[in-house]
C-alpha cells in the first residue's frame, strides 16, 4: 500500500470512528428524550 493509500485509509478510519461516536451520542440523547417524553409531567412529580 502506497503512502497515499495509507493516508486515505487512516482518514476513512477516523471518519468512521467519528460517525460511530456521533451515533452513540445520538442514542444517549434519544433515550434521554424518550424517557422524558414517556414520563411526561410526572417527571417532576417526586418528593423533594
Amino acid at each position: 500500500m502506497s503512502d497515499e493509500e495509507q493516508r486515505e485509509w487512516e482518514r476513512r478510519r477516523k471518519t468512521r470512528s467519528i460517525a460511530i461516536a456521533l451515533a452513540l451520542a445520538a442514542l444517549v440523547i434519544l433515550f434521554y428524550v424518550a424517557t422524558i417524553a414517556r414520563l411526561g409531567g410526572n417527571v417532576l412529580n417526586r418528593p423533594l
Partner: protein, 317 residues
C-alpha cells in the same frame, strides 16, 4: 477490538482502502428507506389516537433504521448476484469498498438496535412487526425465494408492505383492518412495479441467475401478469375510501391515478417490440413509484388536515 471488521493489528486490509461513511449509508439503500419512511409515517398519522410527537419520531426513525438493516443484510447475502448485474455492480460490496463481513455486522447491529429501541420506547407489537419484516426480507425473500422462484417478488413483496402496519401499530399498539388495507396496497403494487423493471432488465437477471418472471416465463406472460396485478392493485387502492381512511380527495385520486396506471400497464401489454416496448416498461416502472407516493401523500394530507381541523375545534359535519 476490531472496528467493524477492520483487523486488530491496525494495518489496512489487503484489498481495501477502507469503507467511507457514505458507503455504509449506501448499504442501507437510502431510496428504499425514504419510501419506507413515507409509508410508515402515513400509517402512523392515519391511525386513531395520538402518539407523543417525540415517540412518533423515534418510531419512524426505528422503522427507517430497520429498513436500512434489511438493505445491508440483503447486500451482504446477494453480493455475488449484485456483482453480475449492471444495475447493482456499483454497490459497496461488489465495488470492494465494504467487505461482506462488515455489511453483515452492520446489518445485524442495525436490526437488533432498531427492534430493541422500538420495543423499549414505543411498544412491542410494532417492534415485533419490525422484527418480522427484517426476518421475512432476509430469510424468506432474499435467502429462500429470490433465487428459486419467479414468485419471489409476489410473496417477498410482503416485506416492503409492512411499514404502514408498523407505523399504525406504533400509534395504536395493534393491527386493524385499516392497516391491513394499507399493507395490501403495497403488496399488490410490488409485482407490477418490479416486473416492469424486470422486463427491460431481463438480460441482467438472466446473467445473474435470478428467476424473475420474464426470464422464466417470458416477456408476454409477464405482460399479462402485469395487467392482472395492476387491475387488482387499482381495486385494492379504492378500499381506503370505503373504510373512511381516505375522503373524497383520496377517492378521486385513486380513480385518476389508478386509471393512468392501468393505461400504462395496457400499453406495456400492447407494445411488445423494440425500443417502444422498453420505453413502455420504463414508463410504467417510473409511474408506479409516483402512483404509490401520490396515493399515500393524499391519505396523509387528508388525515393531517382533519387532525388540524379537530385541533382547531372546527367540525366538518
Amino acid at each position: 477490538m476490531a472496528e467493524l471488521g477492520i483487523p486488530l493489528n491496525n494495518s489496512p486490509p489487503a484489498n481495501l482502502v477502507g469503507a467511507s461513511v457514505a458507503d455504509f449509508i449506501l448499504l442501507m439503500k437510502p431510496r428504499v428507506m425514504s419510501l419506507v419512511v413515507f409509508t410508515a409515517l402515513t400509517g402512523l398519522i392515519l391511525a386513531p389516537g395520538q402518539l407523543n410527537p417525540v415517540l412518533a419520531s423515534i418510531a419512524i426513525l426505528c422503522i427507517a433504521v430497520g429498513a436500512g438493516a434489511c438493505g445491508a443484510l440483503n447486500m451482504w447475502y446477494d453480493a455475488d448476484i449484485d456483482a453480475r448485474m449492471q444495475r447493482t455492480a456499483g454497490r459497496p460490496i461488489p465495488r470492494g469498498a465494504v467487505s461482506p463481513e462488515e455489511a453483515l455486522t452492520f446489518g445485524v447491529i442495525l436490526s437488533i438496535g432498531s427492534v430493541t429501541t422500538l420495543g423499549l420506547i414505543v411498544n412491542w407489537v410494532a417492534a415485533g412487526l419490525l422484527a418480522l419484516t427484517i426476518a421475512f426480507y432476509l430469510f424468506v425473500y432474499t435467502m429462500w425465494l429470490k433465487r428459486r422462484t419467479p414468485h419471489n417478488i409476489v410473496i417477498g413483496g410482503a416485506a416492503g408492505a409492512f411499514p404502514p402496519m408498523i407505523g399504525w401499530a406504533a400509534a395504536t399498539g395493534g393491527i386493524s383492518l385499516e392497516s391491513i388495507v394499507l399493507f395490501l396496497i403495497i403488496f399488490m403494487w410490488t409485482p407490477p412495479h418490479f416486473w416492469a423493471l424486470a422486463l427491460y432488465r431481463a438480460r441482467d437477471y438472466e446473467r445473474a441467475g435470478v428467476p424473475m418472471l420474464p426470464v422464466v416465463a417470458g416477456a408476454d406472460e409477464t405482460r399479462k401478469q402485469i395487467v392482472i396485478y395492476s387491475a387488482l392493485l387499482v381495486m385494492v387502492a379504492f378500499l381506503p375510501a370505503f373504510l373512511h381512511l381516505g375522503g373524497a380527495a383520496y377517492a378521486l385520486t385513486a380513480i385518476v391515478a389508478g386509471g393512468v396506471f392501468l393505461a400504462r400497464a395496457l400499453t406495456v401489454h400492447r407494445v411488445r417490440d423494440g425500443r417502444a416496448a422498453e420505453r413502455a416498461a420504463r414508463r410504467l416502472f417510473a409511474y408506479s413509484i409516483v402512483y404509490l407516493f401520490v396515493l399515500f401523500a393524499v391519505l396523509l394530507l387528508e388525515a393531517a388536515f382533519a387532525r388540524y381541523l379537530s385541533l382547531s375545534g372546527v367540525s366538518l359535519a
